[in-house]
Symmetry: C2
Subunit: 601 residues, 2 copies
């Protein structure tokens, strides 16, 4: 018989309780409070990503002991004003309870009416809600509870009960005086509850870097609240390839990644419901979209065959699974609808983007692109949709950039070089503490325009703001913020990946750049970029400005549409099966196309 592990040899793990939001996180021996919180999907802001410079992860320790760390950034200190500490510079020494500053708590956006999503479709949710009243049984009329309820529903489509719901039914009927709200999915009773209680739906856009959740009133299709957190899978790798490798090569790596994804969705369900004074059990339907790797890791489908040529997904079709089989908190018998994939790494998030923007691309020739850590691009031409996936990496979102940060207060979003002076405009007109994605692209475009970068992307000496500490050149944007040669290289790789994808799509369809009627740029990053900078840096083709539309988080809109309407669920299936997926690596001249776009010309 195996011996139990010697507990004294295990690394210490401390429990950090965030009492005000009713959440817990676990910290390993070397973890800061910020790292533990992020991994648990706790919605702490931490705009600079834990570098100790932004001050948006302020916490106070109510109970327990922490150790304050020496920051690497020159002007950073663990202690902020009024007893607040930077969570990214505080390490628990044991279990503790901390308070998050209200300003450091990523906001749950409450929106009673969402004009856009409400206008374009008629809600037709997969879950129908009924109120049923039964007469109490007698010795002469003692038919079973479930059978009488089905008869009272008077809907011949409904034929069965979820087993977990059945287990609750008899007790609930008697406790509620024989009157209940009953939720039906397809032919199955999936939830029972108080009559008249609002039926909620949760839509999730499971991105590689960020996870966005939306709480809907299913009967009206109205968005009630939304919230974004970082994807806790980031602890296992910033991009898809490193996560797939972690899943394939590490014992239980796949389990860790699944748990991280489930944890994020659970955190969103918890916090969104709390903001609406509801319970996760009020969620009677869930829709999730994500790229193929996110999809597989969430469902714990195998990814070994997806990670190496010929890059075959386990599943492309849409899937309905029981929420409980995925440990996603929801009503007893609720389903999770996972949007279909297109092929390779192009998944349901791109399907959702195409669904949400269909009116814009239906006619003519369009490029629809979802810019993110992985960038998906579709070319619609002559009624055909061709799709590729480009591994653009996190640089365009400010990730893996030396001073990169989220689009939050203090993040540089615009850069202008006028003669010898460099002007950096930060969000909220605050003192700059880092660069967000749009600032990254602006910096590169301006450096090129001002002659600070050469054609191959080398930073040139000569400009007074160019320095060379430790032999590596960088452009100083603000006292604490510089843009380095490595940062330029990361942007070059990203834009070459995206642009060569566009080139090859156009070549395969024999379409000239100038024939593109419109370019729809989706994604959080895409919403804020300066299109001129995107053109100047070579990320997108040089077309008249009016042909570009920045559509924001279209995947988030699309996944809400799918949650709210079975008709749109079907339309999403149709779009997914219409898309012809091209594996970039299989196309002749792929390497050449990539190398052609890595420089600036």
């Amino acid at each position: 018989m195996p011996h139990p592990p010697d507990v004294s040899l295990l690394p210490a793990r401390h429990r950090v309780r965030f009492a005000s939001i009713d959440r817990d996180a676990e910290c390993g021996e070397h973890d800061t409070i910020f790292q533990g919180a992020r991994r648990a999907g706790v919605r702490i802001v931490g705009a600079c990503g834990g570098r100790g410079v932004c001050g948006t992860c302020a916490v106070r320790v109510a109970e327990g002991e922490v150790e304050l760390l020496q920051p690497t950034a020159p002007h950073a200190r663990a202690r902020l004003a009024n007893g607040w500490l930077r969570a990214c510079l505080a390490r628990p020494l044991g279990d503790c309870t901390v308070e998050i500053s209200p300003r450091s708590l990523a906001p749950v956006a409450r929106a009673e009416v969402d004009g856009r999503a409400g206008a374009v479709f008629r809600p037709a949710p997969a879950v129908r809600v009924h109120t049923i009243a039964l007469a109490p049984p007698t010795l002469e009329a003692s038919h079973a509870d479930a059978d009488r309820l089905l008869r009272a529903l008077a809907d011949p489509r409904v034929r069965r009960f979820d087993l977990a719901v059945l287990r609750e039914l008899s007790g609930r009927l008697r406790a509620a005086g024989w009157r209940l709200g009953v939720c039906v999915h397809d032919d199955e009773v999936i939830a029972i509850g108080e009559a008249g209680r609002r039926a909620l739906g949760l839509a999730v856009d499971l991105g590689t870097t960020n996870v966005a959740g939306f709480l809907l009133d299913l009967q009206t299709g109205t968005r009630l609240a939304s919230l974004g957190i970082e994807n806790p899978q980031a602890a296992f790798g910033a991009d898809l390839v490193s996560r797939v490798n972690h899943a394939v090569r590490t014992t239980d790596g796949a389990g860790e990644l699944q748990q991280a994804a489930i944890g994020a969705i659970g955190a969103l369900a918890h916090d969104l419901c709390a903001a609406m004074s509801a319970q996760p059990q009020d969620i009677v339907d869930v829709a999730v979209c994500g790229n193929t790797a996110m999809h597989h890791l969430l469902l714990r489908l195998p990814v070994a065959q997806l990670g190496r040529a010929p890059f075959v997904p386990a599943l492309e079709a849409a899937l309905d699974a029981k929420a409980r089989d995925l440990d996603i908190p929801a009503a007893a018998g609720a389903y999770v609808h996972v949007l279909p994939n297109i092929g390779g790494f192009v998944g349901g998030d791109h399907v959702a983007t195409l669904l949400a923007t269909e009116d814009a691309w239906r006619a003519g020739t369009s490029i629809v692109m979802d810019i993110g850590t992985n960038t998906e691009i579709s070319l619609v031409h002559g009624g055909e949709i061709t799709t590729v996936s480009c591994p653009s990496g996190p640089a365009l979102e400010g990730g893996h950039i030396s001073c990169g940060m989220r689009a939050a207060e203090g993040a540089i979003e615009r850069v202008r070089i006028r003669g010898d002076s460099v002007e950096a405009q930060a969000i909220g007109d605050a003192a700059p503490v880092g660069l967000c994605g749009s600032g990254v692209l602006d910096a590169v475009a301006e450096m090129r325009r001002a002659g600070v970068l050469d054609l191959r992307g080398r930073i040139l000496a000569g400009h007074p703001a160019v320095r060379e500490p430790d032999g590596r050149r960088e452009l100083v944007l603000a006292p604490d913020v510089a843009f380095t040669q490595d940062d330029v290289r990361a942007v070059q790789l990203a834009k070459a990946a995206v642009r060569s994808g566009i080139d090859l799509l156009l070549r395969e369809a024999a379409v000239a750049e100038a024939a593109i009627d419109r370019v729809l740029i989706a994604g959080a990053f895409g919403a804020y970029i300066d299109v001129s900078s995107a053109i100047a840096s070579g990320l997108v083709p040089e077309l008249p400005r009016e042909r570009f539309t920045q559509v924001g988080n279209a995947a988030g809109v699309g996944v809400r549409m799918v949650l709210a309407s079975v008709a749109l669920r079907e339309r999403a299936r149709g779009i997914a099966s219409r898309c012809r997926y091209l594996e970039l690596g299989s196309l002749p001249g792929f390497q050449k196309a990539f190398l052609r776009r890595i420089g600036f010309d």
Copy 2:
């Protein structure tokens, strides 16, 4: 935080390994090997039920220590010949490994062809088996594994995959060289495996006292093997009411009873598959029938409302649940079909009996009765079926009878009183060690006929075989076997329950006894009784002998029919919904009818 329990205070639990049949059991401090084995569903015979008299629980200890107990029966000894021990008189003192004598191992009956079950229906299993071969994917043709498999199935009904199967699919396809056997249930792929492997089905008759399992070849409908074990729930009460009370009144009593039922089904699956050199994962469909309480306890549905007036089941309709949701070992996505209930305690086992005997009762006026610990009786008359449930208790099966035992070697099955002598005929012409059910009924009938019992059921002094140890009269049937006044009372209660049920059914339908065209007696007990004794004791109406048919374990036949054919599954649903259930307690004159039948007249 709650402290972990102090392990030193917990009662000692010993693991007993039965190596030859690859099974384990757990014994509490005071348990014999026999008790532990029974509770774990280990198929040890133990015909006398653990009284130390029959010698059919012979084991040898290979490893570990046991303590031998002093038997209560006068001639019993823990030690048998050749180093064998009675498991019912051996108590483990620590973990041990034991060998069961081949003669003491309840036999798995192998039957390559089952004439009866094969003749009456055409197999049309719910699970269809296909062999699929795919071309390996390439960069140019890299569609997802699951989607390509569905397309290759070329059956538009099949639209989805069980999630657990999906998780295996990509690895299995590659390991098997892109050729697999694929099992489909309705619209869902529920199992994959080696191409050409036999698809098995498991049918289970979950009785209050005994559990019978049947392994079928699903494609031919052929019975491959069958096995009966005791229901391990017996540890929590012999009859339904005591088990329902245990579930309702004990913390986690419902969980214990569910685990016992699941354990029994798992034990059957294991032993039946082992006998056919198969694995439980080869089982791709399961059908289970049982009375309503067995049904609810297996599914862990609430029974509080079933146990008190107006005795309302949680569910009557047939149910399909995932085997894994019930912890029943089977293929990854296999379903368990649980037969519909009729009402009150009358469940799917009676539906199965009615299904198996339909040809016999379709025309005319019939009584169909399932005699067991609970006895279900249907009256078919004028095309209507009316059904009642009678709590007959275990006496008619030899349970709760002082010398009761299973129908095994040494069990008295016939009793004749000729003048002063009492002749007891035991199974296998062996020396009598106890009475089985048919012997119990014979004893009462003969005692009455010979004037040893009076009209009210009192044993009269005077016959030389009647003794009165400790002031309680008994009839001595053999040196170690007596039939006591309490035993007579138990039989009286049982036969009054059954007969008053028949009386009330006839009264409600306004049918005279003489108008009954046929009486179908089902159940293991019913198969072996002497019909004349059943009439003489008042258990059944006095009708010409040829109107009685003993149909054996018809529920076992019926549940196999349901497993083998979706058409018969529908027919079972139809029968269940045709039956009108009468709650005996709600009928006027119920008490009076019962009391009228308790004596002999």
